[in-house]
Amino acid sequence: MDWSALSISLKLAFWTSVLLLPLGLVLGRWLAWYPPRAAAWVHSLIFLPLVLPPTVLGYYALLAIAPDAPLGMLWQSLSGRSLAFSFEALLLVSLVANLPFVVQPISNSYQALDRDIYDAGRVCGLAPWSLFWRIELPLIWPGVLSATMLTFTHTLGEFGVVLMVGGNLAGETRTLSIAIYDEVQALNMSAAGQMSLFLLLLAFSALLWMQWQNRRARRLML
């Protein structure tokens, strides 16, 4: 088992999920409750990473983070390091690639939330922040859970984009899925099998846990 690759994979999945959640909440709520006039455009943009070949996404990400591109230059001036082939670059592109996984479930949950319940909270005198914590969040909880688990497991399995943007630097950008590829290339099948089984079990138990949580949440409310 490549422990360093596992730790990078988990770190990437963790930060992707944590950083995307607030963005997903804002975007999902906005799209469900205040659909903009250009909703079709916004939806298409958010869902683009779902249908694009990871190499295409990776290609554009590479262009964006190149040392002579605005984003790359900005990062260089702020941190003194190059963005290309760094963990941060990996995280950045992972955020974009996972946007649809976090926005869709949250947006669906918001759509299913009875607006009268929200309005009842306002009439009760609940301030916006209180409304969010006490009414909205508990009621869209299944969506939040789905979004987080989908993002986490999907990031663990990400291969193409990671390879394009991160390269394959041990200890910096080599994730578990890339380590598996390397082992297979080296005909080291038992190591690849070990890591594959680990990823398989992790992904399956995460999905199973999510199903249970969702069922519990639904039972509570119906």
Partner: protein, 398 residues
Amino acid sequence: MDAALMSSGLHLSLSSSGVIPLHLQLDCAQGELLALVGPSGSGKTTLLRALAGLYPEVQGVISCAGETWLDSRRAIRRSPQQRQVGMVFQHYALFPHLTVQQNVEMALLQQPLRVRQQAAREMLARVKLSGLEERLPAQLSGGQKQRVALARALVGEPKLLLLDEPFAAVDQQTRYKLRRELAQLRHSLQLPILLVTHDLEEAQQLADQICVLHRGQALQVASPSSLMRAPATPEVAKLLGMQNLFRGELRQLDLSEKRIHLDWQGLPLQWQLTSTQHVAAIEFHRAQLQPGQALQWLAPPASIQLFRDAAAAATALNAFPAIVEESVLLGPHLSLRVRPCHAPDWPLSFYLSQNFLEQEAWQPGETLHLALHPQRLHLFLPANTVDAREITAGERPV
């Protein structure tokens, strides 16, 4: 406007800039229950939402309990949180993830925990829900949900209570029970109450005043009895489901005798004015009330008298024979539709109770003798709705 009313009750003058039209003025005194009736899409729920601050696309003035909640010209617009409104939503909108107790406490969040626990328990006892504090809304019946919603609306000691079809989502039996409970409860509430309903019977049973809404306008505001007796316009009469609306022609005004003579398809009719307000209204419209003027009039059920034979009918005013066209038994009532012999194109419809029926049974084709009671007929003056509203407003009990 009455300054005392403005400071104590609810006063609103609103127009909508949104997709749902609203253009009306209303007052509701402290302790008064004002029912809003009207067809769907007439703006009833929108008006409630505007009062609660949930419908922002309105301009005008809302003041309640001496506070200004909305004044577009002075750029005052209080948020729903700042208005202290109690509202029962159409489908109750209980918080599904919170227990009954927590639902009610939610309206008291700014109070210390102890205080709100105690107040919520007391309010739940008042609406007869003690023992159900720990249930989730999903574990309650429709009637129990409605009571939780009412408790949540009242526990914060609101300045205005808004009820949006509160009995629509429960079965008939529960509906009557909840109606009785509300009728009892409301007398202990010293605040203006607005009740949205599409059920005229419910409005008549519960309300002090009824407002007939249509396309966002208040066509008439009156006590239930004067509304049913004297709808302001033919439109109001139709919206209230009243039948027997006819056209006649003015023959003669006899104000010294408080009488108006009409011609109804060749039959002379007499209308006897019963109040000085009527006379004043007639005086007001005198210029328009020339012989030959077409007038609409209404024969309310209470105005229709039945006679056994022509001889008995001859003693009554406004008598005429008619032929039974349709007679349908509807439970304890017989629905009759008759065609007057002198005006077969203007059928009358009315109900008879079964008690009456045991003695008489009218079959299609039979001849009846009817008379229209001159004091119970209702005549629509050729006025706009505002003038007509003034007439009935004068009959409001103070």
